[in-house]
């Protein structure tokens, strides 16, 4: 039983991290209506930039600020150069554009900063911590706590502040939002900047967990099931979806894996997502219903 | 004698508590042109959508050619000989005029995938037949000049006519026209009215149409049904309806 709880707890902790990454997607989906495949590349870029700076003995806080500035600039540039010209096109077109974007960011980051694996030390120790009958990693706990704090901050931001409410108005009806004076470019820039910041934090946490390397971009492939299950337009959904996917992945790996003779985590979350799509297409907390024939 | 091809009895439809159609009953004779008119939001499009299977009525029933239309899916309605046009033409934008019209015959196609791929005789014969039918319809609606043009490049009025061609090519028994003249100028409307009447005269197609231009409606149709807030407030030949006080009240006395 305690093994089950441990697996579950480990999965939930990983799930918080998935949720953090997923929130970045939700933000951009709400602002620009697109699933930003380049989010993973942005996470990589953030982590790489930070690590490259600290390796050159730039102090932690300064590296953080510089990285943040770069990420925000990048995010705003993307919104301007890529998304605005494609504003009326189909979702698939937008998705393919972000695919192209991810290639640019990946290629660019690695060209400038190299492709070898970098160790990232955030000063968070990784020790076993006993909580009741189960053992968890202190790093996982701290990471989850930080991610969780950020999640709560974002939730408050978007549910309780003017910008957040404006954003929901824009997502519902851009024309009406314009007509009551909401300045869209500012709003979009703000959202993309926040998404860039989220990418930075996620990049740092993930990078510290498993090293900063190319495979960070595949974090985006885990986000899609989270969004499908939780709903593309809800931060709460991203959190719940992240926890579900994290837990399901961990449990499936341990219990289903040996039955089928191998690592099932590549596809299990997707299978779950497809089941959701067939049964509850809008996701648990999503608003937009998918059209049916 | 009276030969109702379409009968609605006590049909009701609600959207999230809002009653779009309330106990609507009327019948349409075979070969007549029946117009559904009424202020915006009166439920006309909803009624049309029910006839076509796009919406499902909550109550009441619809009979077509004596048989109930029960929970019919749009493709099945097409199979039974009910065709329709759309408010904004809804053409297949990447296809030519000819291809759009040919799409209207899709449900009559019997050739299979393999036959298409290998060009087997049944496919060749069918293609020839379909092309002839399409060309005939294009001539009928004076669209021959646009035959190979991609529809997205065409003026709106022509697109609406292509929409009509697409619906007409399969010689439907009942044709539902959703605002066939919306967005047209006077001359285009007259042309469209001419084509609609010609379709009925030439092919015996029964026509139910939604239209806002009262002048057109009165001269074109044999039978007018007036809706207001989902209810029927007038039903009869154009002259009778035009002078009906209830109808005038519904329109606040202002014909378009």
């Amino acid at each position: 039983m305690s093994f089950f709880l441990e697996t579950l707890a480990g999965g939930l902790l990983a799930g918080v991290m998935y949720a953090l990454v997923a929130i970045g997607f939700v933000l951009i989906y709400k602002a620009s209506g697109v699933f930003n495949f380049a989010q993973g590349a942005m996470v990589l870029c953030a982590a790489l930039t930070f690590v490259t700076l600290t390796e050159r003995d730039v102090p932690f806080w300064l590296a953080g600020l510089i990285t943040l500035a770069i990420m925000v600039t990048l995010a705003v540039a993307v919104e301007r150069v890529v998304l605005r010209p494609l504003v009326n096109r189909s979702q698939i077109t937008l998705f393919m554009a972000t695919l192209g974007l991810s290639y640019i960011i990946e290629g660019g980051s690695q060209f400038v900063m190299g492709a070898s694996v970098h160790e990232l030390d955030l000063g968070i120790s990784d020790l076993p911590v006993a909580i009741g009958p189960i053992q968890l990693s202190s790093f996982d706990l701290v990471a989850a706590a930080s991610a969780g704090a950020l999640v709560i901050a974002l939730w408050l931001f978007f549910e309780r502040t003017r910008i957040g409410v404006s954003l929901r108005a824009v997502a519902d009806d851009p024309q009406a939002a314009l007509s009551i004076g909401i300045r869209l470019p500012v709003l979009w820039a703000a959202v993309w900047a926040v998404a860039g910041f989220v990418a930075l934090v996620a990049g740092l946490l993930w990078g510290a967990r498993q090293g900063v390397q190319f495979s960070l971009t595949f974090v985006v492939l885990k986000a899609l099931p989270v969004l499908i299950i939780g709903g593309f337009t809800s931060i709460t959904g991203a959190v719940v979806g992240g926890l579900i996917v994290g837990a399901a992945d961990a449990l499936a790996e341990i219990y289903l894996g040996p039955l089928l003779g191998g690592s099932v985590s590549t596809w299990f979350a997707y299978g779950l997502a497809v089941a959701f799509l067939l049964v509850r297409p809008a996701g648990l907390f999503g608003e937009r219903a998918i059209e049916r024939v | 004698m009276a030969d109702p091809i379409l009968e609605l009895s006590d049909v009701s439809l609600s959207f999230k508590g809002l009653k779009a159609i309330n106990a609507l009953s009327f019948s349409v004779e075979r070969g007549e042109i029946c117009a559904l008119i009424g202020p915006n939001g009166a439920g006309k499009s909803s009624a049309l959508n029910i006839l076509n299977g796009v919406y499902r009525a909550d109550a009441g029933h619809v009979s077509f050619e004596g048989k109930r239309l029960r929970s019919i899916r749009p493709g099945a309605a097409a199979q039974r000989g009910i065709g329709r046009t759309f408010q904004h033409a809804a053409l297949f934008s990447g296809l030519s005029v000819l291809d759009n019209v040919l799409a209207g015959l899709a449900r009559h196609s019997r050739a299979t995938l393999i036959e298409h791929a290998l060009g087997l005789p049944r496919d060749a014969a069918e293609t020839r037949r379909f092309r002839e039918a399409a060309d005939e319809t294009l001539s009928f609606l004076e669209l021959k000049a646009y035959r190979d043009r991609i529809v997205a490049t065409l003026p709106y009025g022509i697109q609406k006519r292509v929409d009509l061609a697409r619906a007409l090519v399969a010689r439907p028994t009942l044709l539902l026209l959703d605002e066939p003249m919306a967005g047209m100028n006077g001359e285009e409307k007259r042309a469209m009215a001419r084509f609609i009447a010609a379709a009925r005269d030439e092919f015996g197609t029964t026509i139910v149409l939604i239209e806002h231009d009262i002048g057109v409606v009165m001269s074109l149709s044999d039978h007018v049904v007036v809706l207001d807030y989902g209810r029927k407030v007038g039903d009869g030949p154009p002259d009778a309806v035009r002078n009906d006080p209830a109808v005038i009240a519904a329109y606040l006395g202002k014909p378009h």
Binding site: V82, L86, Q91, I92, T93, F95, M96, A97, L99, G100, S102, Y103, I104, G107, F111, L224, P225, I228, G262, T266, W267, Y270, G271, A273, V274, L277, I290, R292, V293 | S45, N49, G53, V54, R73, P74, G75, A77, R84, F86, Q87, A89, A90, L91, F92, S93, G94, L95, D99, A103, G104, A106, R107, A111, L113, H116, A117, G119, R166, A167, D178
Partner: protein, 347 residues
């Protein structure tokens, strides 16, 4: 406006130019080059590094184009379908050696098509972008299955699967020229079949579903059948490409060559080459195959080889990404349309 009809509004979009009208003479010239001039002049390097992968990736892109470009059904499963084709053909060649080579190839394709049909079933309920999810699920699952279930690779470790001898009508096709002949013939035959389908009622139904699914359903186009056939044919074509990749190019069946990156590559080919354009798949494939080679030569010439392979591939990623975005913004119908416009500037 009733929601069902809102969906039926034609999308605001620039007109799709008709498929590049390769005039009869131009086509004849192309075929003469392909079937006659090349075999007389090409070197092994050209066969192995350029012509064969070009033809195969063009076919893979063609398969995806049928599903996604013509029928509008998004799919990131091309790699998986190629894998099915490769493994199916391998097992047919291995376990039923009396079947002639073309039959095994075709069989591999048909089996891939059947898998594609199953993968396409969710498309009856899920539309647009979300369709990516089931195809991704299929991509990951199928990759996993071939890695896990040893029967498919005859219980050999992946590096040791060797392709059975390619023999047809007594000719040994395992030389570069022989493999080129096999590839060219297969690709030509499949392309002709695809071309016929696209011009037929099936192709028309596909495009109707793509351009206005609700309207199509209302006027009686068999939407479900159109979607499933698009997946079936697309997967079958990609399956044949996968089999050719394994046997005519790599010389082995390796699941890793059919991963998600392969699916992305196919998608790039059709975006750059031109969606819903048969010739576009070829143009796009030529582009994808030649660019890395050109970049390497360019960097060696201009920068004296100071850029290593990794850096070049990074540059390539940047280039591809920029091109994809550029094409999507400026010329959504890809190089095929661009070239078409060069030939007919009045249009």
């Amino acid at each position: 406006m009733p929601p069902a009809l809102a969906a039926a509004l034609a999308p605001v979009r620039r007109p799709v130019l008709p498929a590049l009208p390769v005039r009869a003479a131009g086509l004849a010239l192309l075929l003469a080059v392909a079937f006659v001039a090349i075999p007389l002049t090409a070197t092994d390097y050209w066969y192995n590094a350029i012509l064969i992968p070009f033809l195969i990736m063009a076919l893979a892109g063609l398969g995806l184009n049928l599903t996604m470009g013509y029928a509008g059904q998004a799919s990131l499963g091309t790699g998986a379908f190629m894998a099915v084709g490769a493994y199916a053909t391998y097992n047919l060649l291995l376990r039923l050696p009396e079947l002639p080579l073309p039959v095994s190839l075709a069989g591999g394709g048909l089996i891939a098509g059947a898998v594609g049909l199953v993968v396409g079933l969710p498309s009856l309920r899920i539309k647009g972008f979300y369709l990516i999810a089931p195809t991704l699920a299929a991509q990951f699952l199928i990759e996993w299955v071939f890695n896990q279930v040893g029967w498919f690779s005859n219980y050999a470790s992946s590096s040791a699967i060797s392709a059975p001898r390619l023999v047809f009508l007594g000719y040994d096709l395992s030389s570069p020229a022989g493999r080129y002949a096999l590839t060219l013939t297969s690709v030509s035959v499949v392309t002709v079949l695809a071309w016929r389908l696209v011009g037929s009622q099936t192709g028309r139904n596909w495009r109707a579903v793509r351009d206005g699914e609700t309207a199509a359903a209302v006027i009686g186009v068999p939407v479900a059948r159109a979607k499933l056939s698009a997946f079936f044919v697309g997967a079958a074509v990609s399956g044949v490409a996968g089999a050719l990749w394994a046997f005519a190019y790599l010389g082995t069946v390796d699941a890793r060559s059919f991963d998600l990156d392969r699916s992305f590559q196919a998608m790039f080919i059709i975006i750059i080459g031109g969606l819903s354009s048969l010739s576009g798949s070829f143009i796009g494939a030529a582009f994808i195959v030649l660019t890395p080679i050109l970049l390497t030569h360019l960097s060696n010439a201009l920068l004296g080889g100071s850029l290593d392979g990794g850096q070049i591939s990074n540059l390539q990623r940047i280039l591809f990404g920029a091109l994809i975005i550029g094409f999507l913004i400026k010329e959504p119908n890809g190089l095929a349309a661009l070239l078409g416009r060069l030939r007919h500037p009045a249009r």
